[in-house]
Symmetry: C2
Subunit: 333 residues, 2 copies
Amino acid sequence: MLLALDAMGGDRAPQEPCRGAVRACESLPDLEVALVGDGKRLEPLLAEVSSNVRSRLHVVHTEEYITMEDSPSVSMRRKRNSSLRLALDMVRGKEAAGCVSAGNTGAIVAGGVLVLGRIAGIDRPGLGVPILSLSRTSLLIDVGATVRCKPVNLVQFALMGSIYMRCLAGVPEPSVALLSNGEEDIKGDDVISEAREILKASSLNFVGYVEGKDVPVGKTDVVVCDGYTGNVLLKFGEGLGEGVFGLMKEEIRRSFLPKIGLAFMWPMLRQLHTRFDYEKQGGTPLLGVEGTVIKAHGRSKARAIDNALRVARQFVLQRGVETIREEVAKGGM
Amino acid sequence: MLLALDAMGGDRAPQEPCRGAVRACESLPDLEVALVGDGKRLEPLLAEVSSNVRSRLHVVHTEEYITMEDSPSVSMRRKRNSSLRLALDMVRGKEAAGCVSAGNTGAIVAGGVLVLGRIAGIDRPGLGVPILSLSRTSLLIDVGATVRCKPVNLVQFALMGSIYMRCLAGVPEPSVALLSNGEEDIKGDDVISEAREILKASSLNFVGYVEGKDVPVGKTDVVVCDGYTGNVLLKFGEGLGEGVFGLMKEEIRRSFLPKIGLAFMWPMLRQLHTRFDYEKQGGTPLLGVEGTVIKAHGRSKARAIDNALRVARQFVLQRGVETIREEVAKGGM
């Protein structure tokens, strides 16, 4: 399977995307990666890669790329030779089975829609992130494909999230909730309450509102919100993790007792940290476009890119796009 | 100083409010608390309190109270003898220096505006919560007085937050940021970007956008968002804390090594937990109304009510309301 990787996307490009692609190819013998980006910068990074892996890494040269400051839709239209655009073009032209980028989220979403098109019945795609908790893995959707949205967009996120969890994550009758500022029906704004009424009348297993506190404990299989809220929430969780670990380090530096404790607890703490390290773990599928597009965290290092490539490969193998298209077409609501 | 306490507000009323009032009076000899609520239920809870404290607890009997399901504005107008309404009336009538409630947030806000009135120059009050981090204490405002708001409301939250941090928390030239889904100016929705332009032109120390991850690490002194976002964020943090501690307990139960480590680390972990246990720590002042109104967490136990009474007392001693009124009147923008 050939996947296209936007080698210029993300804060640590092109080094980390290259290293991530090498890692993925090392462990997945069926994988080939097209590294789309500036050949002059990419080739030296691949100089010492073993021939077995190197033969499966294809540099697709372009000097243009999209920065984090670029306006998403404008750059996607104007920068026709940008690394992201070319990676998406490869998916459209069936040269690549899917693509991965750690770059500008807005551009990835705009590009996904512009180049690949939307799945019939979906007005706006959504980014869904799996949240691991004690009891289950929940899908939080949308975490940044939109900023604000209409009730119909929230409803479509609910539908796609439900399809994803049922068909791709194997959860029978996934429970779906809207994220709100309280459990009672009087909570939420007009958009959220209108979506609630549509979802109540649908055939989805809609359970009403959940609150912020219910997200990390995994109260439902799917949690729906607009992209502003999902983004802020996810990054808050990230910052909180960093904050807690920073405080821990500080405490451990200051006193002796926790140092002893730490030696015994380190493996467990590491595991916890990984568990709450949402985005860095891998990639987020852009649900609702006609192709496999995986958004990796902007700060992705090699491990995260490696994981994002695995997520893309899995999504392709599971026929993710086709499944969503078929299920949306069935109505499902 | 006499403070009015809505003894029927919150999930654990009237037991925990009563116990909290007792605790506060035990340690603060100048404090008197008017316990507003059903005398038949309150009196037995006070039966064994020492006479020194009991003499400073005054039961103000009423059988009516506002539930979590009640519509805020309707219940505030109709339930004129509700415990919350009477507590606010006592503040208005200067019988009480301030009031505390762990009840229905919407009703507390609506009641604050209806009974006490808004400070001139403030269209809608905001709830500000201190967020403790490694480097500083930031004020997150609003965490639930509003759901959505207009740019002018966000600007007024920024102003009140800045006044609060400068005059009441002793931070010179507090830095103020808007919470957004990215740092670049192209991020945010129309409301947030309009507020950004107004704040840029103001005399506040406005530093632009911060992201979710910047909140727990304390990047700025004041973080401004609408009440939906602040509520979801705060509760997400709460749930995450519970989730992490739940996972830790599970790991510790399952294996032996972490048990040993835990013995050494427990004091530190406790401290961390308390640090991120935002709302339960105490109360949140409703900024922008003509009186001291402190909202305590709905799940408040005695300790939290005790702390909320302390926050109210401190706010009164610091002339919180007068300070905000005077500073807003000066323009300050």
